[in-house]
Symmetry: C2
Subunit: 205 residues, 2 copies
């Protein structure tokens, strides 16, 4: 793509460096910004810079945070005895969006994956163990992706904490709501038969 | 989407305001930037701000420019007697990318579209007429989108300049290279029959 202005060219180059954004999309975004008011573009630019410069990671759960302790860990109405272990910040946001969970989180920062050179030492596992040590945590819910690496990570952590009286669970795996049996993969369908759940009986009064 | 950090939330909001970018994509872009070095994010932020604050529009052709006159208009090796009339900057970039054109441009900044409230006065038509007035321009090539509005714009301008000895052409319209006849719309196929082109005969020596 031949762009005659170097200012425009540089801006397109910066956008095109973002994941999933090619040069054509980058050009569309930049031409959109050119049409906006200068103050609006300055606000865009400042918000991004400030976010990077000021964002912190929670010292308790490693979630993204505006302060030393994140708003979830410092919320007194959340259940401190429940910890949901997730791979990354995106998973925290996904679970928070369901509005079905009222406990705390622990962000591992990845999962054990020897092929990618990620071992237990690169993950926030030691801080998780230290959170469990005082004995106040009753249940650890693993919400990791249902892959070999996810299962390996669960296995590794549960072995480490086997001596503590903590209940260990994992989010339910099975057929998605709205999914069709005939399109489900064999592994999921087979496992969901093995792990079948009782149907609650509604008794009319 | 529930984001616990307001810094993150604001950055996601800014990206989500861009065209074609939803909140999930915005989050992915922001989390990508968080992982980069601070200098890299500062460069991203500064490049965008500088682009908006410093970018100019060429006083001759209204193309985007780093100075008062753009690099195309000030290039001595380009043919000054040829002017290609386009709707917007994106079209200049598209034509430049073909590397098949060595003349100058004139960016109208839109096309005549009464339904959208765009009349001739909102477009850069007067400056085009003034560029033709000295009598040095030999050909005006219209490269507008083949729509009713595009044709109206061509008709309006060519009436205005009918008294000058300028050749007026439009880019060829017909079946795309690699296109299939059976999928072409009737109008395009009908017109491409009417405007059929002679086949050059290769004579073996």
């Amino acid at each position: 793509m031949q762009i005659s202005s170097s200012l425009l060219e540089n801006a397109v180059g910066e956008f095109a460096r973002l994941p999933g954004i090619g040069r054509k999309t980058a050009l569309r975004l930049v031409l959109h910004l050119i049409k906006q008011d200068t103050e609006e573009v300055q606000r865009f630019s400042n918000t991004i810079r400030r976010m990077k410069e000021e964002v912190l990671f929670c010292s308790v759960c490693h979630n993204i945070s505006d302060g030393a302790v994140c708003s979830i860990c410092s919320n007194p109405s959340r259940k401190k005895e429940l910890i949901c272990v997730v791979e990354n910040i995106r998973d925290v946001i996904a679970i928070e969006t369901t509005q079905q969970y009222n406990g705390l989180y622990h962000v591992l920062g990845g999962i054990i994956s020897p092929l990618d050179g990620v071992g237990p030492d690169q993950l926030n596992i030691q801080t998780l163990i230290e959170r469990i040590r005082p004995g106040e945590v009753e249940e650890l819910i693993f919400a990791l992706n249902p892959t070999i690496q996810g299962d390996t990570t669960i296995y590794y952590i549960q072995k480490k904490i086997a001596s503590w009286p903590v209940r260990i669970t994992t989010i339910a795996r099975g057929i998605s709501f709205g999914g069709e049996l005939e399109y489900a993969d064999e592994l999921t369908l087979g496992r969901s038969l093995q792990n079948r759940m009782p149907v609650e009986k509604y008794v009319s009064h």
